[in-house]
Symmetry: C2
Subunit: 147 residues, 2 copies
Protein backbone atom coordinates (compact mmCIF):
# COMPACT_ATOMS: atom_id res chain seq x y z
CA UNK A 1 0.00 0.00 0.00
CA UNK A 2 2.70 2.49 1.06
CA UNK A 3 4.70 1.64 -2.05
CA UNK A 4 1.71 2.23 -4.30
CA UNK A 5 1.18 5.74 -2.96
CA UNK A 6 4.92 6.46 -3.14
CA UNK A 7 4.86 5.35 -6.79
CA UNK A 8 2.31 8.06 -7.47
CA UNK A 9 4.51 10.58 -5.66
CA UNK A 10 7.35 9.35 -7.91
CA UNK A 11 5.19 9.95 -10.98
CA UNK A 12 4.74 13.51 -9.75
CA UNK A 13 8.52 13.83 -9.31
CA UNK A 14 8.93 12.69 -12.94
CA UNK A 15 6.56 15.45 -14.06
CA UNK A 16 8.85 17.91 -12.27
CA UNK A 17 11.93 16.49 -14.03
CA UNK A 18 10.12 16.80 -17.38
CA UNK A 19 9.96 20.58 -16.96
CA UNK A 20 13.50 20.83 -15.57
CA UNK A 21 12.48 21.21 -11.92
CA UNK A 22 14.26 19.38 -9.09
CA UNK A 23 12.25 16.11 -9.16
CA UNK A 24 10.32 15.87 -5.90
CA UNK A 25 6.69 14.77 -5.67
CA UNK A 26 4.11 14.52 -2.89
CA UNK A 27 0.76 12.83 -2.39
CA UNK A 28 -1.77 13.31 0.43
CA UNK A 29 -4.06 10.44 1.34
CA UNK A 30 -7.13 10.35 3.57
CA UNK A 31 -8.98 7.09 4.38
CA UNK A 32 -7.01 5.32 1.67
CA UNK A 33 -8.00 7.82 -1.02
CA UNK A 34 -5.66 10.33 -2.68
CA UNK A 35 -6.98 13.83 -2.04
CA UNK A 36 -4.08 15.76 -3.57
CA UNK A 37 -0.85 15.30 -5.47
CA UNK A 38 1.77 17.81 -6.55
CA UNK A 39 5.33 18.31 -7.74
CA UNK A 40 8.00 20.91 -7.15
CA UNK A 41 7.56 23.99 -9.36
CA UNK A 42 9.81 26.53 -7.67
CA UNK A 43 11.55 27.61 -10.88
CA UNK A 44 8.60 27.58 -13.27
CA UNK A 45 6.14 29.20 -10.88
CA UNK A 46 8.84 31.63 -9.66
CA UNK A 47 7.67 31.06 -6.10
CA UNK A 48 10.04 30.24 -3.23
CA UNK A 49 7.25 28.37 -1.43
CA UNK A 50 6.26 26.10 -4.36
CA UNK A 51 7.83 22.88 -3.08
CA UNK A 52 5.72 19.77 -3.78
CA UNK A 53 4.64 19.44 -0.13
CA UNK A 54 3.34 23.03 0.17
CA UNK A 55 1.38 22.74 -3.08
CA UNK A 56 -0.01 19.34 -2.02
CA UNK A 57 -1.08 20.78 1.37
CA UNK A 58 -2.80 23.76 -0.29
CA UNK A 59 -4.65 21.42 -2.67
CA UNK A 60 -5.66 19.08 0.17
CA UNK A 61 -7.02 22.02 2.22
CA UNK A 62 -9.04 23.02 -0.82
CA UNK A 63 -10.28 19.46 -1.33
CA UNK A 64 -11.37 19.13 2.30
CA UNK A 65 -12.66 22.70 2.62
CA UNK A 66 -10.61 23.51 5.72
CA UNK A 67 -7.04 23.99 6.88
CA UNK A 68 -6.86 21.04 9.28
CA UNK A 69 -5.74 17.88 7.46
CA UNK A 70 -6.97 15.56 10.20
CA UNK A 71 -6.40 11.82 9.57
CA UNK A 72 -4.29 12.65 6.51
CA UNK A 73 -1.01 11.07 5.48
CA UNK A 74 1.65 12.48 3.20
CA UNK A 75 3.94 10.53 0.90
CA UNK A 76 6.92 12.51 -0.32
CA UNK A 77 9.85 11.33 -2.43
CA UNK A 78 12.45 13.46 -0.58
CA UNK A 79 12.81 14.31 3.11
CA UNK A 80 11.05 17.68 3.66
CA UNK A 81 12.98 20.88 4.31
CA UNK A 82 12.32 23.10 7.32
CA UNK A 83 9.55 25.07 5.58
CA UNK A 84 7.71 21.96 4.41
CA UNK A 85 8.16 20.15 7.73
CA UNK A 86 6.71 23.20 9.46
CA UNK A 87 3.78 23.19 7.02
CA UNK A 88 3.19 19.48 7.69
CA UNK A 89 2.99 20.21 11.43
CA UNK A 90 0.84 23.32 10.87
CA UNK A 91 -1.66 21.39 8.76
CA UNK A 92 -1.93 18.58 11.34
CA UNK A 93 -0.95 15.82 8.91
CA UNK A 94 -0.74 12.69 11.05
CA UNK A 95 1.69 10.45 9.23
CA UNK A 96 4.57 11.20 6.90
CA UNK A 97 6.14 8.61 4.58
CA UNK A 98 9.51 9.58 3.11
CA UNK A 99 11.39 8.10 0.13
CA UNK A 100 14.99 9.39 0.04
CA UNK A 101 16.69 11.34 2.81
CA UNK A 102 18.22 14.79 2.23
CA UNK A 103 21.50 15.08 4.16
CA UNK A 104 21.89 18.77 3.21
CA UNK A 105 18.51 20.23 4.12
CA UNK A 106 16.24 17.52 5.56
CA UNK A 107 14.34 18.47 8.70
CA UNK A 108 13.00 15.00 9.51
CA UNK A 109 16.22 13.53 10.84
CA UNK A 110 19.09 14.62 8.57
CA UNK A 111 20.00 18.19 9.59
CA UNK A 112 17.43 18.38 12.38
CA UNK A 113 14.37 16.38 13.38
CA UNK A 114 11.44 18.66 14.07
CA UNK A 115 9.09 15.67 14.29
CA UNK A 116 10.85 13.68 16.98
CA UNK A 117 11.94 16.44 19.26
CA UNK A 118 8.99 17.59 21.27
CA UNK A 119 9.57 21.30 20.87
CA UNK A 120 6.39 21.85 18.96
CA UNK A 121 2.84 21.29 19.95
CA UNK A 122 1.76 19.13 17.05
CA UNK A 123 2.99 15.66 16.36
CA UNK A 124 3.39 13.67 13.15
CA UNK A 125 4.60 10.08 12.87
CA UNK A 126 7.44 9.69 10.37
CA UNK A 127 8.35 6.59 8.36
CA UNK A 128 11.41 6.55 6.11
CA UNK A 129 12.85 4.40 3.34
CA UNK A 130 9.71 3.87 1.20
CA UNK A 131 11.03 3.14 -2.34
CA UNK A 132 14.20 4.89 -1.22
CA UNK A 133 16.30 3.73 -4.17
CA UNK A 134 13.87 4.92 -6.87
CA UNK A 135 13.27 8.22 -5.08
CA UNK A 136 17.00 8.77 -4.77
CA UNK A 137 17.97 7.77 -8.29
CA UNK A 138 15.54 10.17 -10.00
CA UNK A 139 17.31 13.00 -8.15
CA UNK A 140 20.78 11.65 -8.97
CA UNK A 141 19.89 11.36 -12.66
CA UNK A 142 18.56 14.91 -12.67
CA UNK A 143 21.69 16.41 -11.12
CA UNK A 144 23.97 14.27 -13.31
CA UNK A 145 22.38 15.79 -16.42
CA UNK A 146 22.77 19.26 -14.94
CA UNK A 147 26.54 18.99 -14.70
Amino acid sequence: MHENFMKIALDEAKRAADIDEVPVGAVIVKDGIIISQAFNTRESSKDATAHSEITAIKKACEALGGWRLIDCEMYVTLEPCLMCSGAILQSRIEKLYIGAMDPKAGAAGSVINVFEDYWFHHKCEVYTGILQEECSSILKEFFKKKR
Copy 2:
Protein backbone atom coordinates in the same frame (compact mmCIF):
# COMPACT_ATOMS: atom_id res chain seq x y z
CA MET B 1 12.70 53.65 9.59
CA HIS B 2 12.25 50.16 11.07
CA GLU B 3 9.32 51.41 13.13
CA ASN B 4 7.62 52.87 10.07
CA PHE B 5 7.72 49.56 8.23
CA MET B 6 6.59 47.71 11.36
CA LYS B 7 3.65 50.12 11.62
CA ILE B 8 2.55 49.02 8.16
CA ALA B 9 2.90 45.38 9.24
CA LEU B 10 0.74 46.30 12.27
CA ASP B 11 -1.88 47.80 9.94
CA GLU B 12 -1.92 44.45 8.13
CA ALA B 13 -2.36 42.67 11.50
CA LYS B 14 -5.35 44.94 12.20
CA ARG B 15 -6.91 43.90 8.89
CA ALA B 16 -6.59 40.29 10.06
CA ALA B 17 -8.28 41.10 13.38
CA ASP B 18 -11.11 42.84 11.50
CA ILE B 19 -12.03 39.53 9.85
CA ASP B 20 -11.52 37.50 13.02
CA GLU B 21 -8.13 36.07 12.06
CA VAL B 22 -5.21 35.87 14.52
CA PRO B 23 -3.73 39.36 13.99
CA VAL B 24 -0.30 38.94 12.43
CA GLY B 25 1.00 41.07 9.56
CA ALA B 26 4.11 41.07 7.41
CA VAL B 27 5.80 43.49 5.02
CA ILE B 28 8.69 42.86 2.60
CA VAL B 29 10.99 45.74 1.70
CA LYS B 30 13.65 46.01 -1.01
CA ASP B 31 15.90 49.07 -1.35
CA GLY B 32 13.68 50.97 1.06
CA ILE B 33 10.51 50.27 -0.94
CA ILE B 34 7.66 48.00 0.14
CA ILE B 35 7.24 45.25 -2.45
CA SER B 36 4.60 43.20 -0.63
CA GLN B 37 2.42 43.22 2.46
CA ALA B 38 0.03 40.60 3.81
CA PHE B 39 -1.91 39.40 6.83
CA ASN B 40 -2.80 36.01 8.25
CA THR B 41 -5.84 34.43 6.54
CA ARG B 42 -5.61 30.82 7.65
CA GLU B 43 -9.26 30.58 8.69
CA SER B 44 -10.88 32.61 5.91
CA SER B 45 -8.80 31.16 3.10
CA LYS B 46 -9.06 27.65 4.64
CA ASP B 47 -5.37 27.13 3.91
CA ALA B 48 -2.90 25.85 6.53
CA THR B 49 -0.07 27.67 4.78
CA ALA B 50 -1.76 31.12 4.68
CA HIS B 51 0.28 32.77 7.45
CA SER B 52 1.13 36.43 6.74
CA GLU B 53 4.78 35.62 6.01
CA ILE B 54 4.03 32.94 3.40
CA THR B 55 1.54 35.18 1.60
CA ALA B 56 3.97 38.11 1.73
CA ILE B 57 6.76 35.93 0.29
CA LYS B 58 4.52 34.68 -2.55
CA LYS B 59 3.51 38.27 -3.39
CA ALA B 60 7.14 39.46 -3.26
CA CYS B 61 8.23 36.65 -5.62
CA GLU B 62 5.47 37.73 -7.98
CA ALA B 63 6.51 41.38 -7.70
CA LEU B 64 10.16 40.60 -8.44
CA GLY B 65 9.43 37.91 -11.04
CA GLY B 66 11.58 35.25 -9.39
CA TRP B 67 11.81 33.12 -6.25
CA ARG B 68 15.02 34.59 -4.83
CA LEU B 69 14.26 37.59 -2.62
CA ILE B 70 17.83 38.91 -2.70
CA ASP B 71 18.46 42.10 -0.70
CA CYS B 72 14.97 41.88 0.78
CA GLU B 73 13.97 42.45 4.39
CA MET B 74 10.87 41.23 6.18
CA TYR B 75 9.03 43.00 8.97
CA VAL B 76 6.64 40.74 10.87
CA THR B 77 4.57 41.55 13.95
CA LEU B 78 5.02 38.09 15.53
CA GLU B 79 8.03 35.76 15.65
CA PRO B 80 7.66 33.33 12.71
CA CYS B 81 6.76 29.67 13.23
CA LEU B 82 8.85 26.83 11.83
CA MET B 83 7.08 26.84 8.44
CA CYS B 84 7.47 30.58 7.96
CA SER B 85 11.06 30.62 9.22
CA GLY B 86 11.84 27.88 6.73
CA ALA B 87 10.17 29.89 3.97
CA ILE B 88 12.21 32.97 4.93
CA LEU B 89 15.41 30.92 4.59
CA GLN B 90 14.19 29.28 1.35
CA SER B 91 13.43 32.65 -0.23
CA ARG B 92 16.85 34.09 0.73
CA ILE B 93 15.41 37.05 2.65
CA GLU B 94 18.45 38.75 4.17
CA LYS B 95 17.10 40.53 7.23
CA LEU B 96 14.17 39.80 9.49
CA TYR B 97 12.67 42.36 11.88
CA ILE B 98 10.34 40.93 14.53
CA GLY B 99 7.79 42.70 16.73
CA ALA B 100 6.55 40.39 19.50
CA MET B 101 8.07 37.02 20.38
CA ASP B 102 6.04 33.79 20.38
CA PRO B 103 7.07 31.61 23.35
CA LYS B 104 4.82 28.74 22.19
CA ALA B 105 5.78 28.34 18.54
CA GLY B 106 8.47 30.84 17.59
CA ALA B 107 11.38 29.47 15.58
CA ALA B 108 13.61 32.54 15.78
CA GLY B 109 14.73 32.11 19.36
CA SER B 110 11.74 31.08 21.49
CA VAL B 111 11.23 27.35 20.91
CA ILE B 112 14.19 26.97 18.57
CA ASN B 113 16.39 29.34 16.62
CA VAL B 114 16.78 28.17 13.04
CA PHE B 115 18.48 31.44 12.09
CA GLU B 116 21.30 31.40 14.62
CA ASP B 117 22.19 27.76 14.58
CA TYR B 118 24.22 27.03 11.51
CA TRP B 119 22.42 23.87 10.49
CA PHE B 120 21.08 25.30 7.29
CA HIS B 121 22.85 26.66 4.29
CA HIS B 122 21.16 30.04 4.07
CA LYS B 123 21.51 32.79 6.59
CA CYS B 124 19.22 35.62 7.62
CA GLU B 125 20.01 38.32 10.16
CA VAL B 126 17.33 38.66 12.83
CA TYR B 127 16.42 41.77 14.85
CA THR B 128 13.78 41.62 17.58
CA GLY B 129 11.73 44.05 19.67
CA ILE B 130 10.57 46.46 16.93
CA LEU B 131 7.34 48.02 18.30
CA GLN B 132 7.15 44.97 20.55
CA GLU B 133 4.46 46.39 22.83
CA GLU B 134 2.03 47.33 20.05
CA CYS B 135 2.61 44.04 18.22
CA SER B 136 1.99 42.11 21.42
CA SER B 137 -1.08 44.04 22.58
CA ILE B 138 -3.02 43.56 19.34
CA LEU B 139 -2.67 39.80 19.90
CA LYS B 140 -3.59 40.02 23.60
CA GLU B 141 -6.71 42.07 22.77
CA PHE B 142 -7.72 39.54 20.14
CA PHE B 143 -7.44 36.55 22.44
CA LYS B 144 -9.12 38.41 25.33
CA LYS B 145 -12.19 38.94 23.14
CA LYS B 146 -12.12 35.28 22.14
CA ARG B 147 -12.52 34.03 25.72
